[in-house]
Symmetry: C2
Subunit: 449 residues, 2 copies
Amino acid sequence: MQDADYIIIGAGAAGLTTAYELKKQGSSVLVLEARERVGGRTWSGMLDGAEVDWGGEWIGSSQHRVYALVKELGLHTFPTYDTGLKVLELRGRTSTYRGTIPSMAPWKLLQIQLAIWIIDAWANRVDIATPWNHAQASEWDATTLDAVRRKFMWSADARATMDAAIRTIFGAESGELSMLHMLAYVKSAGSMNNLISTEGGFQHDRISGGAQSISLALMNSVGTENVLLGQPVTAIAQDESGVTVTCASGKTFRAGRVIVAVPVPLGDQISFTPPLPALRQQLMNRAPMGAAVKIFVRYERAFWRERGFSGEAASGDGPVSVTYDQCSEDGKTACLMAFVGGKFARTWHRRDPLERKKLILDRLASYFGSEAKQPVAYQEMDWCGEAWSGGAPIALFPTGTLSTHGPALREPIGRIHWAGSETARQCMGFIEGAIESGQRAAEEVLALG
Amino acid sequence: MQDADYIIIGAGAAGLTTAYELKKQGSSVLVLEARERVGGRTWSGMLDGAEVDWGGEWIGSSQHRVYALVKELGLHTFPTYDTGLKVLELRGRTSTYRGTIPSMAPWKLLQIQLAIWIIDAWANRVDIATPWNHAQASEWDATTLDAVRRKFMWSADARATMDAAIRTIFGAESGELSMLHMLAYVKSAGSMNNLISTEGGFQHDRISGGAQSISLALMNSVGTENVLLGQPVTAIAQDESGVTVTCASGKTFRAGRVIVAVPVPLGDQISFTPPLPALRQQLMNRAPMGAAVKIFVRYERAFWRERGFSGEAASGDGPVSVTYDQCSEDGKTACLMAFVGGKFARTWHRRDPLERKKLILDRLASYFGSEAKQPVAYQEMDWCGEAWSGGAPIALFPTGTLSTHGPALREPIGRIHWAGSETARQCMGFIEGAIESGQRAAEEVLALG
């Protein structure tokens, strides 16, 4: 009477990894996906003939699971373009630098380095799987990164540099971040340096054909007949012998266990019978998604490369927090990507589209030269308005959440299990984390027999 | 072709006030309610023959709208019992006092008073309707009440006293509260004193027959045939000529405009066509409900009154944050109410039921005497597990939310309007606020013709 041994909800990298691992072990699986595509927060497409990644795109450093999976699936990577000058914009002034150290007064650099040391040191103290168990967890979770950093970052330039990083990593302002979440995230990533670096960091490589290729290849391996698209799940009911999953289409499916692999807050749109324990229910209402808009601008030529720029710029001023070179692997199409994050992203859609385009092109021109004002194509991807993501890149845990609700993050509830990058212990929030969570969820249900 | 001029979603005090006001002005209304009862976060019931308010119950001070409505509906109020000694429990020790000033070292009292002065003074600076427009809004919204108070409250006893108040008012810890939300809330309430006081404050009066009587009377006035119970709304679609509202039952209803009068986060369970602007969509995911458990213990006699106690106790130690005398208006039934809020409430359901009961009775005994250990009846109401509230008493706005998403709180989106106590300018979060929001929403739609 079962449609599959396991039903997986969400066909992002987490859900499809779960299905892939379970299928490998001989189980039958059914993946239900709300969208008409797989990949979740990874989505590769075309801008006027150029391949672009509208969502998550990079992998790097210690992320061994994703490299292994990429290899296993017959995919390839190529290094992010990282040659030449980088640009830093702070309080209305732009400067250029090579390597990893911005051109800034030494005492300001020292403040930035000090902040990195402090955060890394504190992060090292928390347990990667259970940061909420640390003796100082309540204290760290009662304050924000902004409140903490004000104690030792007196330089407005140093704070602005951090703003650029935080908006890019979290899609949030430092005042939105619980210090405990910040520390847990850094611990999960290994170091601050992993989070912010291209060369040797998490932005080291891109996937040939785009990051969505991973999910597409996983789907093919799982069997397209086992992945149903356009089936938002509205209800999960569990009983003594299994679970019944109902879709908005009215279709119902039956399995022994269900793995929910959607971003934490989206779980709240599913009606559970019996109701979930309050700690889990409230968690799903206490984890808003970050805010991110990825903007791609296509040009005739990679004029910035010709001028000796890497295409990487960081700005503490906004609306852009970082830019990256996004030329195709073969170098035949030339693109820049501008990332708008945090408070600028939340209200981005309220600005006039022409004003938005002008703003972005002006910023790019001030970083890399006036040629930036003559694009061939311009396209925005506003993740805040995406119904089946609710924002990007990741779910945030506001103050008071992780210390109290953390234990509910991965805890199974009867026949319901949880995957998704936010539930990862390693590289939480990244494609690597999605894969780690999927492998963990598969192991978890298989261990129950 | 319309079922009504206006559809109102949610039959709490806010939604029913909207319907009541619109009906008075000659409009036809249809109220859709998910639960099988009206009242929302007010719910009056019986514990072994004694009338109790499982949810919101008090009104007082400057709350003129609710007093006027109570009168208009032919209802009555009676004063909260406030005679005799009060108890304060801090760090394992209990003390008693009369009036409003706890027996505590003067320098500790001064710290509490200083905190009240500072919060009141800052709160006075923010605009009651648009706190997010204040020059310091971003700064206040980037830190928590806990981080701010640590700068001037060195006494652990003073902080613990504040914890008892904050857990009761917000169902949250001070580390969960954005300072901007705190200030906006205090401004909306008029003063800290209104929030914490019985005599002359917001806990001054109770409603004869229970606070739900307001909603029941409003429903009768609107016409029970115009209030459909057990109809959770799953979708709202708007077009050029009106809105179509779909319920979980499959029933659809049509009206010119819709007023959504549910707690902010519950709006996220409705699917909107066209999709809501991202700022509004993300707001609904960034406003978790507080955590509150109301516990009623019935006794043969009001032994605490006989012993000279008011029945009011406050504890910074938890799990109880406050207790109140809850004897019936006629004094014939004797009850105490223990309020568990914030972190203690979030995990309350994970404790063993017998352990919970023992814990509560032990606390009551230590406050009012060993007779507390011999109750006639004991009943808990855990709002965290209530599907159609998601928590209580109010929705919280974590750091970074109100400063950015505040403007979306009341802003209509085409034919969709918003009510609910969280959208109130005056007495946000209280029954008074629910009524204010309903009156404002009714005016708003009527002004559009």
